[in-house]
């Protein structure tokens, strides 16, 4: 009965799937950012709707309403990010002239068109972030259903904004085995859910290629402040350490690097945390080595 554990069908050089090749970061071609900058600062802002009736299966992403239905208390705590938190984040980034990439659930475009307007007015980039936090992509989803979810997510944003939407972020960073192929099929340029590199790399599917962009998981406010319960001082400190190390590596390898910050309205947008964002971004942007850019700007510079 245990014989299948002694059978290794994918035991070979490289990975056990065909989505991308094993390419160590330090062995890849050198990257040049505009102006000869060493660090591309990429700030992403997840803009999320957590429905009261989100299903428990197959899983609920981090941040989902944790209590018994109807969890109107925690609903309102997430909604705080959409009424207040996101505008605080905008004010801070405006102070530094930084344009972010907003990963927006389709439901936001319908419920809170004002947020879309403010994103567009700032020339932030809009990235598709699924339908809402109650619709995760997972292995049990039929391919036609998932195609509809992706199309719905993107169309809602393009119709609400009048801009093109080229990047994808899955709710809870979850995929089925079809997600990458469906994103390529629908003409997305980049995907942000895999946490396995500091730099972009190429994903290959039967429907074409995608650029995998290194949106941080380890250093996101969600991971450090919500999952690990750290303080904002720890959050700032760990991100600055990453900045210093990546900056040093950029010098060492004569190749640009990316510093990805993930800044969530219902986490860092609270009044007890927002000053930490100002401190962190202020420190980073004061460095002469930094080029602040959106996802598509980084992809374009990377592909040059």
């Amino acid at each position: 009965m245990t014989a299948d554990r002694l059978n290794y069908p994918h035991r070979r050089h490289g990975l056990d799937h065909d989505w991308f090749r094993h390419e160590p970061t330090i062995q890849r071609p050198r990257v040049s950012w505009p102006g000869g900058k060493r660090i591309a600062l990429w700030i992403t802002v997840p803009v999320e709707f957590f429905p009261l009736d989100a299903p428990a299966q197959p899983f609920r992403p981090l941040g989902s309403l944790p209590s018994v239905y109807p969890d109107s208390w925690n609903y309102s705590s997430r909604d705080y990010g959409l009424r207040i938190g996101i505008y605080r984040i905008m004010r801070v980034l405006d102070e530094f002239g930084v344009r972010a990439t907003a990963a927006v659930n389709a439901e936001i475009a319908r419920r809170y068109p004002r947020i879309i307007d403010e994103i567009i007015a700032r020339k932030w980039e809009l990235m598709a972030n699924g339908v809402d936090m109650g619709h995760v992509h997972h292995g049990g989803l039929g391919v036609d259903d998932e195609r509809m979810l992706i199309r719905n997510a993107r169309t809602s944003l393009t119709e609400a904004s009048g801009t093109s939407v080229n990047g994808w972020h899955s709710p809870g960073r979850s995929h089925s085995r079809n997600t990458l192929q469906l994103l390529a099929e629908q003409g997305f340029t980049y995907v942000t859910d895999w946490a396995n590199d500091d730099m972009p790399y190429t994903v290959t599917t039967s429907s074409g290629e995608l650029c995998a962009m290194p949106l941080t998981y380890e250093l996101s406010d969600r991971h450090l402040l919500v999952h690990h319960n750290l303080t904002v001082d720890d959050y700032v400190e760990q991100n600055l350490r990453a900045f210093d190390r990546l900056d040093a590596e950029a010098t060492h390898y004569s190749s640009g690097r990316i510093l990805s910050l993930s800044v969530t309205p219902w986490i860092l947008g609270y009044p007890h945390r927002i000053a930490a964002l100002r401190r962190l971004v202020g420190h980073i942007i004061a460095s002469a080595s930094v080029w602040s850019a959106t996802g598509m700007e980084i992809v374009a510079a990377f592909n040059k």
Binding site: P51, S76, R83, I84, G134, H135, L149, P271, H272
Partner: protein, 319 residues
Amino acid sequence: MQSVDALTPNGIGTMLREPSRYNYLPLIDRPKIRWPKNARIAFWVCPNVEFYELDPPDGQGRPIWPRPTPDTLNYSLRDYGNRSGIWRVMEAMEKFGVRASVSLNAAMCDHMPEIVDECVRLNWELFSHGIYNTRLIYGMTEDDVRQVISDSINTIKRHSGRTVAGWLAPALSSTETFFDLLPEFGIKYAIDMTPDDQPIPIKVRHGKLIAIPYSTEINDIRVMGIRGYPADKWTAMIKACFDQLYEEGEENGTVMCVPLHPFVVGQPHRISALHDVLRHVTSHADVWLATAGEISDWYYQNHYDEAVNYQANARAPRK
């Protein structure tokens, strides 16, 4: 566009997708609130004075105690608040001249009237936190919820002579409709939803209701009890919160609540943190040290109508 509702496993119409109790009013586009004496911020402190039963009923939507009953450890940890912690909290509040608004399990009037009497002597506000913190309202019929509301405010009134104007459901439990029932009993404000740093109108079937900002984000039980922050990190968090809302309050008045649990903040290794918080807040000039009821009264008299009218003209969601 094809509907994605069919992909929601719960089906359509069996549960609410959203509470639908308030309109969207973004930070950057809303009427201005002015507090008495042009204070920038209305600051209130909310000790939760609670009784947890040793043997609560089963079947309340979630387990009440983490261990099988009698959960003597967790029971006694909470009882510590009523034996030792609350007196330290009272001392700190009196020292800095801040009156609290107590989220009160009404059964405390029966079990430990000495504590309620002391709250009254300190001229603290009392509002309803249900009967026991071990009797959740999940799944209750409207008439059962009405009994809880009515019993709680009548008990507090009978014992203290105070008319109850506010509500927080026990342990933040809820039903789809409990907000609708509160105005039937003269409740004017609830603190069961916090999407904002200002009071907001809550839509109810009949009458009026508002939500006053409360917090689990800076609540002692969440930060020090669950997340395990040392007390000085909690103080830093609260000071940062106050400083931000004090700054923003110059433009548009804000509200900050510090929720407390005597069994958490009233521990000897933590109580100095409450002193630090109150010292920081009371050292600022433009602070209105208020009770929740005073904030509520001011808001109804000066801002409620404007907010409702403003929302009525705000941009509607796309269909």
